[in-house]
Symmetry: C2
DNA sequence: CGGCGAAGTCAACGCGCATTGACATCGCCG
DNA sequence: CGGCGATGTCAATGCGCGTTGACTTCGCCG
């Protein structure tokens, strides 16, 4: 994340192409995540980045180009594949946790989900998802029928995220415990 | 489903408000399912229904009204809750089946998923989903912690659907078998 | 110090959209 | 059969969007 110094030591170069690009991209990630491809407005993205709209055209060629870059960038905030034993618990906690707890992850997820629904972006997403999500899961799972098993895993994964997005009130108390236990159990079975 | 007789016995009443309404609604369900709330155009819906755009305004008040009705109607094609023993297998088969096999169900699902992502429609969906999906599941599940368990079930349910929508190539052969087995197992655990 | 290209600004265009109001036509009911 | 309300038609309006091109300003480099 490139940060723009605001108060101290005003930037030596006020015209910094790289910083501008980064600012636009960051704003785009947020906007696309929150409003989807169609819902996000270039004007708004530009405003949030403190930049003129025309620069988006210059740097990214257009809305679709910007989206593609943002999609790629959103995968950088990666998903946690670590040891198989810890995975189910971690992931269940993550699902149960409120959305604010891990903003960048939630962001990335929202981004992907929103992208899944627009016919314009679905192909792009499908490709990226295959490359960067299903592929890795598949390799990580390994063993027999890794393909089918990774699809099941991915399905469950996505599903809980969607469920959380739709009803974004955080889980609490006993309900939370039960939720975590069940989800954890499911993922435990899926990685074995 | 109201069907419009085309060849034989030209309609006695050519001005039929109810039939017009139904035609619009049917077209709307298809269009919203395929293109989402933002992507669907009233003009296109009207054209598909063989009707003037202005009538949508008259009958449904506007785009949002039309969407709400279509959303409600999409739940009519209901999900199969039958006996608990058969449920897991049925649902797994359903998930594994190709999208063409049960067009109206796939339609309804696409509709819901597309709706989930647009901020405009998310609240509407959230409400409808609660009333007509999570609520019934919850009652159907019954027993202890029905709330949390129904959320897990709904999550898994939605997830597999999304996964299928994103990669819509049908599953085949051994991959299909493994998929069904795993999914069936998950739902089996979730209803107990 | 001077110019030249990169970075940023501004305004306009064209498009598709939902919505609206005035108008035409049908069909029922008295 | 006559009128009146329901049904359907048409055209216009306004809005937000992405995109584009000409213009201005900066900062580096010779």
């Amino acid at each position: 994340m490139t940060e723009v110094a605001v108060g101290e030591r005003a930037p030596v170069r006020r015209r910094d192409a790289e910083a501008t690009r980064a600012a636009i991209l960051a704003a785009a990630k947020r906007q696309f995540a929150n409003f989807g491809y169609d819902g996000a407005a270039l004007r708004e993205i530009a405003a949030e980045a403190g930049v003129d709209v025309a620069l988006i055209g210059r740097y990214f060629g257009g809305k679709e180009g910007l989206f593609t870059e943002a999609l790629k960038a959103s995968f950088e905030d990666r998903f946690p594949f670590r040891d198989r034993a810890a995975f189910p618990g971690e992931i269940a906690e993550m699902m149960a946790g409120d959305a604010q707890a891990r903003p960048e992850r939630t962001h990335a997820f929202q981004f992907l989900l929103r992208a899944a629904t627009s016919p314009t972006t679905a192909p792009l997403l499908s490709l990226a998802l295959q490359e960067r999500f299903l592929g890795p899961i598949r390799d990580w799972l390994g063993g027999e029928d890794a393909g089918a098993r990774s699809r099941v895993l991915a399905g469950a994964f996505i599903g809980f995220l969607v469920e959380r997005l739709i009803r974004d009130e955080p889980l609490r108390g006993r309900e939370r415990e039960v939720f975590i236990a069940r989800v954890s159990e499911i993922f435990g079975r899926l990685v074995s």
